[in-house]
């Protein structure tokens, strides 16, 4: 069942996320559902594949903001690191970052959809 406890087990900083969502549990969970469906994940994946660093930065930056507010730490941490590399448009292999991010996102997706 998708609830605060499940999010906590996943590694999210539920207290912070809930606080940002004015302590409204229902609203917080709704926002987390939205986060896993966020189009920026796709944008980031495509941009990295196409080596479009500008686009990749924008997508990573957008994800950073949303995940940061919701305090979904396991995905937020690699996104933050990746964003900083992308900010300098560093020519590096972003594949491992992307993989961690997408794996964690998939994991969260399963948690979110557990009760569906």
């Amino acid at each position: 069942m998708f609830d605060l406890e499940a999010l906590r087990r996943f590694g999210a900083n539920v207290e912070d996320g809930l606080n940002t969502c004015v302590n409204n549990e229902e609203f917080y969970l709704k926002m987390v559902r939205k986060a896993v469906a966020d189009a920026s994940f796709d944008r980031l994946e495509k941009a990295v594949e196409g080596k479009d660093l500008d686009e990749a930065f924008e997508a990573a930056h957008a994800l950073k903001g949303a995940l940061g507010n919701l305090a979904i730490t396991p995905i937020l941490e690699p996104v933050v690191e990746m964003t900083e590399h992308l900010r300098g448009r560093e020519d590096m292999d972003y594949g491992p970052y992307l993989k961690t991010i997408l794996d964690k996102k998939k994991e969260l997706e399963e948690i979110v959809n557990a009760d569906v």
Partner: protein
């Protein structure tokens, strides 16, 4: 006072601009308790909403990194737009570098990402909205809508700022007045009047654009200015003149300017303006010289006048105002006969000594206080006529002055009538002198009042006849009983052909009107002879006597009683 942020149905609208929906919704949820959030996912969409005239936003919460149009771009556009720049902007960012850039572009505050303290965010939104709304109220109170100049309160505030932050700056205070502005309103209509005032504001701003310049319109047709010192006011105001006429299409708009140069900073703002105003009012009516500068002498005269105005009530109460009497002699027969007297006021000030009527009469004529003086003289003179009558058995009528301001007093007839009654006199024993300048003011009113007074039995003397510009026109329309010719002509008649001709002319006019003519200011026997030869009826002047105290005047009465008795015996 309503609590800020709650205004019933019309809640304030806040625009949240962020490309990330989750962030938009979270912020929206945070502020929804107090405000109506609206959303835009990039700068372009935000601009569309902001330009919708049906919507008014109280705050913009702006993300910086967005596709299509980013936050920096939008912020720049907002701050360069006159309307939109009145909306506060709070930038949401997690980067220090972006903070500096956005504050340069005009951001008002920052919210750090992630949004961990909803209470702080809400409080910051409240504070910035309140700040802007207060500023807007202040700004709307700052300017006079007609002229675009400051209101009086803000004018003072900005002078204080200059005093505080630029205390060494050499400043001038100016007061400008549009003369007879009510005539512009009457002749061209109110909207033209407003246009003129608006143009004055605009032209002044333009002419003094190269100076430190603060101006306001404290009321109606007065403008106050505070300007960094300059030496070219003559040139500047010549330009003011031509530009004002050109813009308004009114050929001549008369104005006057008083300038207090190099203001003394130890003076209060009020005093600085008062000095300029004093200089301005000093040039009233002098169309050849619209600019006047304040000086110490001007100030001393002003202080002296203030003192006189201040002391007048006490002077009346303490009887420091003394009525003197100058005899008027009928010279139509072989021996001059005392016919009447003129009441003339003297002020014996306990500290300033004798004050010349020339110092206080024009002053009181200007400020209306002359009415008090007139009332005092009427009562004193009537009482004196009665005393003489009782004591010597003959009536010596006394002429008193009726000033312009008295003419318009609805109580004039009652007052004169009761003074006469109280002293058991007849109305022809108190003669009323009016000057022809009253005619120039409002001929119709003057004629009406004069007719009523004559109807009551009062005799009207036209004083200073020939000195004004309306003499001939007036004399045919206004009913009078005596003509007093201007003493200038008498004074010059034996050495100046023109004056002599004028005297002749006035005497002829009096004959034509079948009224006696009085010559004032007659000083020597040759003048008496000339006047007598011309057919002048009555003479007043030093030849017979200077104005004297009532006790001294009694000698003339005793002499007249003696003469009459003698004549009777014959």
């Amino acid at each position: 006072m309503k609590e800020f942020g709650y205004s019933g149905k019309n809640r304030r609208r806040v625009l949240i601009v962020d490309d990330e929906e989750i962030n938009r919704l979270i912020l929206g949820r945070m502020i929804a308790e107090k405000y109506d959030p609206e959303y835009a996912e990039n700068g372009e969409k935000a601009l569309e909403l902001l330009q919708d005239p049906s919507k008014r936003y109280s705050l913009i919460l702006l993300d910086l990194w967005m596709p299509v149009m980013d936050g920096f771009d939008l912020l720049g556009r907002i701050r360069s737009d006159e309307e939109l720049s009145n909306i506060p902007v709070i930038v949401m960012t997690s980067e220090k570098a972006a903070e500096a850039r956005s504050i340069k572009l005009g951001a008002d505050d920052f919210i750090s990402k992630p949004y961990r303290s909803p209470e702080v965010i809400k409080a910051r939104c409240d504070r910035i909205i309140q700040l802007y709304e207060n500023r807007k109220i202040l700004r709307s109170a700052e300017k006079d809508t007609l002229t675009g100049l400051y209101t009086r309160e803000f004018f003072n505030e900005y002078i204080i700022q200059i005093d505080t932050f630029d205390s060494q700056m050499d400043m001038d205070a100016l007061v400008l007045n549009i003369e007879h502005f009510h005539m512009v309103n009457e002749m061209y209509g109110r909207s033209m009047g407003d246009k003129v005032l608006g143009c004055v504001g605009e032209i002044l701003r333009e002419l003094f654009g190269d100076s430190v310049f603060i101006a306001c319109r404290p009321d109606a047709d007065y403008f106050y200015m505070y300007i960094s010192h300059r030496d070219d006011y003559d040139t500047v105001f010549a330009r003011f003149n031509s530009e004002l006429s050109a813009v308004t299409d009114i050929p001549v708009i008369r104005y006057r300017v008083g300038i207090y140069e190099h203001v003394e900073k130890s003076n209060t703002i009020e005093e600085r303006i008062d000095h300029a105003k004093l200089a301005c009012d000093g040039v009233r009516g002098d169309y050849t010289k619209p600019i006047s500068f304040y000086s110490k002498e001007l100030h001393e005269v002003d202080l002296y006048h203030e003192r006189l105005v201040h002391d007048i009530d006490e002077a009346i109460f303490n009887r420091d105002l003394i009525v003197y009497y100058q005899p008027k002699y009928d010279i139509t027969g072989d021996t001059p006969r005392l016919r009447s007297a003129e009441a003339l006021i003297r002020w014996k000030h306990p500290e300033l000594g004798m004050i010349s009527p020339g110092d206080f009469i024009p002053l009181f004529e200007n400020n209306g206080l002359i009415q008090k003086l007139d009332h005092y003289v009427w009562a004193e003179a009537a009482l004196q006529v009665r005393k003489w009558k009782v004591r010597h058995g003959i009536s010596i009528p006394v002429s008193v002055n009726v000033s312009r301001v008295d003419i318009y007093d609805p109580d004039l007839k009652n007052r004169l009538s009761s003074i006469v009654k109280e002293n058991k006199l007849t109305t022809d024993e108190l003669m009323l002198e009016i000057t022809e300048s009253a005619y120039a003011d409002d001929a119709k009113a003057l004629i009406e009042v004069v007719e009523q007074l004559r109807g009551m039995g009062f005799k009207i003397e036209m004083d200073d006849f020939g000195s004004g510009y309306s003499s001939l026109n007036m004399i045919t329309t206004i009913p009078i009983d005596v003509l007093k010719m201007d003493m200038k002509f008498i004074r010059n008649m034996n050495r100046d052909e023109k004056s002599l001709k004028m005297v002749e002319l006035v005497i002829d006019i009096a004959k034509f009107l079948k009224v006696p003519v009085v010559a004032e200011g007659v000083e020597d026997a040759s003048q008496v002879e000339t006047l007598k030869g011309m057919g002048c009826d009555v003479i007043q002047g030093y030849y017979f006597s200077k104005p004297v105290m009532p006790q001294e005047f009694e000698e003339f009465i005793i002499e007249e009683v003696r003469r009459r008795k003698k004549a009777e015996k014959k």
